[in-house]
C-alpha cells in the first residue's frame, strides 16, 4: 500500500489542522452495531439463508431442459417469439458449456434480491411520493446507496451476515433497490392532476386512489424500475462472489485468481445471456 496515503489517513492532523476522523467513527459505529445487533442480524441471516438456498436447490433440482422450456414459454407469452428463441438457444448454450448449476445459483440470488427489492422498494416509493418529509429524509439516503462504491459496504456486511449468499443478497439489495424506489416515486408523481381529481371527485378512498388510479398509471414506470433493479442485481451478485456468493460470479472470481481467461470469458458470456433474457422479458412487461 501507498505509505504516504496510509499515514495521511491514520494521523490526527492534516497540515496542522485537526483531521475529522470519519473512518474511526465508522469503525466505532460498526463495532457498536456488531456488539449490540449481531444476534438479530444473524437470526435474519439464517432465515434468508434458508429461503435463498431453498430457491437455489429448487432451481437446480428441476431438469435443465424443463427450466429452459419454461423460460422460453414465459418469454414467448410476455415478450415475443424472437426473445423466446433467444432464451431457448442461450440457455441451451449455457447448459452445454457446463455452467448450468452456477447459472441457476446466480438466477436464484437475483430473484431473491429482486423480490425483496420490490417488497421493500415499492412501498417506500409510495411513502416518499405521499409524504414530503419522508422524501426529504430518504432521497439523500438513496443517493448514498447508489454512489457509495459497493466494495465499501461489501466487507462490513460480513460480520453481520457471515460469508456466502446472505450478505451477497443484502448488499445487492442496497445497490439495486434505489431505482425501484425512485421510479415508483416518479411514476406516482407523474399521474396527471385531472385523473387525481377524477378519483377524488367520485369519492375514492386513499387506497382506492392508489390501487385503481395511481399504481396502474405508474405501472410502466415502476416496471422500468424493476427492470433496472434486475440488471443492477445481476451485476452485483457477480461482485458479491468476493464474499463467497458462488454462482457465475464465483467462476469469474476463480478465473481471475488463476488467470484462466477462457473460463472467465465463458462465465462472462453466460452472465450476458442471462442479463439479456431477464431484461427483454421485464421490459416488455412494462410496455404491454
Amino acid at each position: 500500500m501507498n505509505l504516504e496515503l496510509f499515514f495521511s489517513i491514520t494521523s490526527y492532523f492534516t497540515d496542522g489542522i485537526p483531521r475529522i476522523p470519519l473512518g474511526r467513527w465508522t469503525d466505532q459505529t460498526i463495532d457498536f452495531l456488531q456488539a449490540n445487533f449481531r444476534e438479530s442480524t444473524q437470526a435474519i441471516s439464517e432465515i434468508l439463508e434458508i429461503i435463498i438456498k431453498g430457491l437455489q436447490e429448487g432451481l437446480i433440482s428441476v431438469p435443465p431442459l424443463l427450466v429452459i422450456l419454461i423460460v422460453a414459454l414465459i418469454a414467448w407469452k410476455l415478450a415475443n417469439r424472437k426473445i423466446a428463441v433467444f432464451s431457448l438457444l442461450g440457455l441451451l448454450f449455457i447448459w452445454n458449456i457446463g455452467l448450468w448449476v452456477v447459472t441457476m445459483q446466480t438466477l436464484a440470488m437475483v430473484l431473491a434480491a429482486v423480490l425483496m427489492c420490490i417488497l421493500l422498494g415499492v412501498p417506500l416509493g409510495i411513502l416518499i411520493a405521499k409524504n414530503e418529509t419522508a422524501y426529504r429524509i430518504i432521497a439523500p439516503i438513496l443517493d448514498f446507496m447508489q454512489t457509495l462504491p459497493a466494495f465499501v459496504y461489501l466487507l462490513p456486511a460480513i460480520p453481520f451476515f457471515g460469508l456466502g449468499v446472505v450478505p451477497a443478497v443484502i448488499t445487492t439489495l442496497i445497490f439495486a433497490m434505489p431505482p425501484i424506489i425512485r421510479l415508483t416515486y416518479l411514476g406516482l408523481t407523474q399521474v396527471p392532476e385531472e385523473l387525481l381529481e377524477l378519483g377524488k371527485s367520485f369519492g375514492s378512498t386513499f387506497f382506492q386512489m392508489l390501487i385503481k388510479i395511481e399504481l396502474p398509471l405508474a405501472r410502466s414506470t415502476i416496471m422500468a424500475g424493476i427492470n433496472q433493479c434486475i440488471m443492477l442485481s445481476l451485476s452485483m451478485v457477480v461482485i458479491a462472489a468476493m464474499i463467497g456468493a458462488k454462482g457465475l460470479g464465483g467462476v469469474v472470481w476463480t478465473a481471475i485468481q488463476t488467470l484462466n481467461m477462457g473460463m472467465g470469458f465463458e462465465a462472462g458470456v453466460a452472465i450476458v445471456i442471462l442479463a439479456i433474457i431477464l431484461d427483454r422479458i421485464t421490459s416488455s412487461l412494462g410496455k404491454s
Partner: protein, 398 residues
C-alpha cells in the same frame, strides 16, 4: 326550489389567508391584497343559487376564478370562507365520510380533458364511480351500460379510451357522471377541447339529455355562444367576482359593465352583420293551394311548429302554425287560405342584427327575410344568428 346555494364564497391561495381576508373586508382590491400579503384571491365573495333542474353557466376568461369556483363545490379545493349549501346542507362543514358520500351520490364532475383512465375499457371507466362504492360487478355493469347507451356508445364499451375520438371520449366522461345518477353535474369546460363542429353536436346532445334527465348543471365555459346556448342562467366572472348574472338575453342586450360589454363585444358583430349574412335558406315552405294536412305532415317530418307560405315565385304570403293546421284538419277545412297569418315580423336583407335581436328574442316563429319585391330570401332563427356571429368572429381572427 334551490338545489345549490353559494353564500359569500371566498378562496384565497397562500399560507396565511387570515390577513388577506381582513384586507378584503376593508375593501382592498385583489392586486393590493397580493402586494400586501402575497396571498392570491381566487374567488371573492361569490353568491348565487341554482334551482333544481336548472343549467347554470359560469363564464369567464382564464384566471377569472371559474375553475376554482366549480372545484369548491365538490371540495376538490377547500374554500377559505363562505357556505355551499346543497339541499340545505353546508358541504364545507361535513365530515370526510359524509363528503365522500356526497361525492358518490349527489354530484359528479365532467372534466375538460375528459380524465379517462387509459388502462380501463370504456365500460370500466364508466363504472368507476360505482366501483368505488363497492357495488357488485353485475349491478355496476348494468348501470354503466345504461349510461353508455344514453350517450350512444353501446358498440364501444369494450374499447379503450385511445380508440375513441375526442368527442366520443367526452361522451364517456358524461356517461361516467350519469352512471352515478347524481343530482348535480359539475361540468368544467367539457367541450373546450373539442373542435367547433363536434362541440356544437355535443351541446345539442347535452340539451337533449337534459330535456330527459333534468339534472342541476353547473357548466363552466369561456365561450359566450356556448353559454347562451346551454345556460338557463349565466354568471360572468372576472377577478374572482361575479360581475353580472341573469338570463342570456339580459347579458346580451344590457351588459352591466365594461367588462361584460367587452365580452359581448365579440357578439357585437350584431352591429356589423346584416340579416342576409346569417340567414339560412328556408328549409321548407308551403304553397297556398296545399291543404292543412300536407302542412301538418311537413311540419311533423321536420320537427317544426310553423311554416312559411309562399306563392310560386316565392313571394311571401304569411305563415301557418301547427295548431291552426291541426284545427283546420279537425274541422274538415281543405284549404290553407283561412288560416294563413299575415301579421308577422319581417326583415329586409340589409338590416343589421343589433336591430333584430329584440324581435328575435320575442318572436315565436323564425324571422322571415324578404327583399323589396317581397320574395322570401331566407329565415333567421336564433341558432343561425348565433352560429353566424360565431363564424364571423372566428374569421376576424380571434
Amino acid at each position: 326550489m334551490a338545489k345549490l346555494i353559494i353564500n359569500n364564497l371566498t378562496k384565497i391561495y397562500g399560507n396565511s389567508p387570515e390577513k388577506a381576508l381582513e384586507l378584503m373586508d376593508k375593501g382592498y382590491t385583489n392586486s393590493e391584497i397580493r402586494q400586501e400579503t402575497k396571498q392570491v384571491v381566487g374567488v371573492r365573495e361569490v353568491s348565487f343559487s341554482v334551482n333544481e333542474g336548472e343549467s347554470f353557466v359560469i363564464m369567464g376568461l382564464s384566471g377569472s376564478g371559474k375553475s376554482t369556483l366549480i372545484r369548491c363545490i365538490n371540495l376538490l379545493i377547500k374554500p377559505t370562507r363562505g357556505e355551499i349549501l346543497i339541499d340545505n346542507e353546508d358541504v364545507t362543514r361535513v365530515s370526510s365520510d359524509r363528503l365522500m358520500q356526497l361525492r358518490r351520490k349527489k354530484m359528479s364532475m365532467i372534466f375538460q380533458k375528459f380524465a379517462l383512465l387509459p388502462n380501463r375499457r370504456i365500460l370500466d371507466n364508466v363504472a368507476y364511480g360505482l366501483e368505488v362504492q363497492n357495488m357488485s360487478r353485475i349491478v355496476r355493469y348494468e348501470k354503466a351500460r345504461e349510461a353508455i347507451s344514453m350517450v350512444g356508445l353501446q358498440e364501444w364499451e369494450d374499447a379503450y379510451p385511445h380508440n375513441l375520438s375526442g368527442g366520443m371520449q367526452q361522451r364517456v366522461g358524461i356517461a361516467r357522471a350519469l352512471a352515478n345518477d347524481p343530482d348535480i353535474l359539475l361540468m368544467d369546460e367539457p367541450f373546450s377541447a373539442l373542435d367547433p363542429l363536434i362541440r356544437q353536436d355535443m351541446q345539442d346532445d347535452l340539451l337533449a339529455l337534459q330535456e330527459k334527465l333534468h339534472k342541476t348543471i353547473i357548466f363552466i365555459t369561456h365561450d359566450l355562444d356556448e353559454a347562451l346556448k346551454i345556460g338557463d342562467n349565466i354568471a360572468l366572472m372576472k377577478d374572482g367576482v361575479i360581475v353580472q348574472s341573469g338570463v342570456p338575453e339580459d347579458i346580451l342586450l344590457s351588459p352591466a359593465s365594461d367588462y361584460v360589454a367587452r365580452f359581448v363585444e365579440n357578439i357585437n358583430w350584431t352591429k356589423a352583420l346584416t340579416a342576409s349574412a346569417v340567414m339560412v335558406k328556408p328549409r321548407v315552405v308551403i304553397y297556398p293551394k296545399d291543404g292543412p294536412m300536407t302542412a301538418l305532415r311537413i311540419m311533423e317530418k321536420h320537427g317544426i311548429s310553423s311554416l312559411f307560405v309562399v306563392d310560386r315565385s316565392t313571394h311571401l304570403i304569411g305563415y301557418v302554425t301547427a295548431e291552426d293546421a291541426y284545427n283546420a284538419v279537425e274541422n274538415g277545412i281543405k284549404h290553407l287560405d283561412g288560416i294563413i297569418q299575415k301579421d308577422m315580423p319581417v326583415s329586409a336583407p340589409d338590416i343589421v342584427l343589433s336591430d333584430l335581436l329584440e324581435v328575435l328574442a320575442n318572436t315565436k316563429i323564425p324571422l322571415a327575410v324578404v327583399n323589396e319585391a317581397n320574395e322570401l330570401k331566407g329565415v333567421l332563427v336564433r341558432g343561425s344568428v348565433i352560429a353566424g356571429l360565431a363564424g364571423a368572429r372566428r374569421e376576424a381572427g380571434e
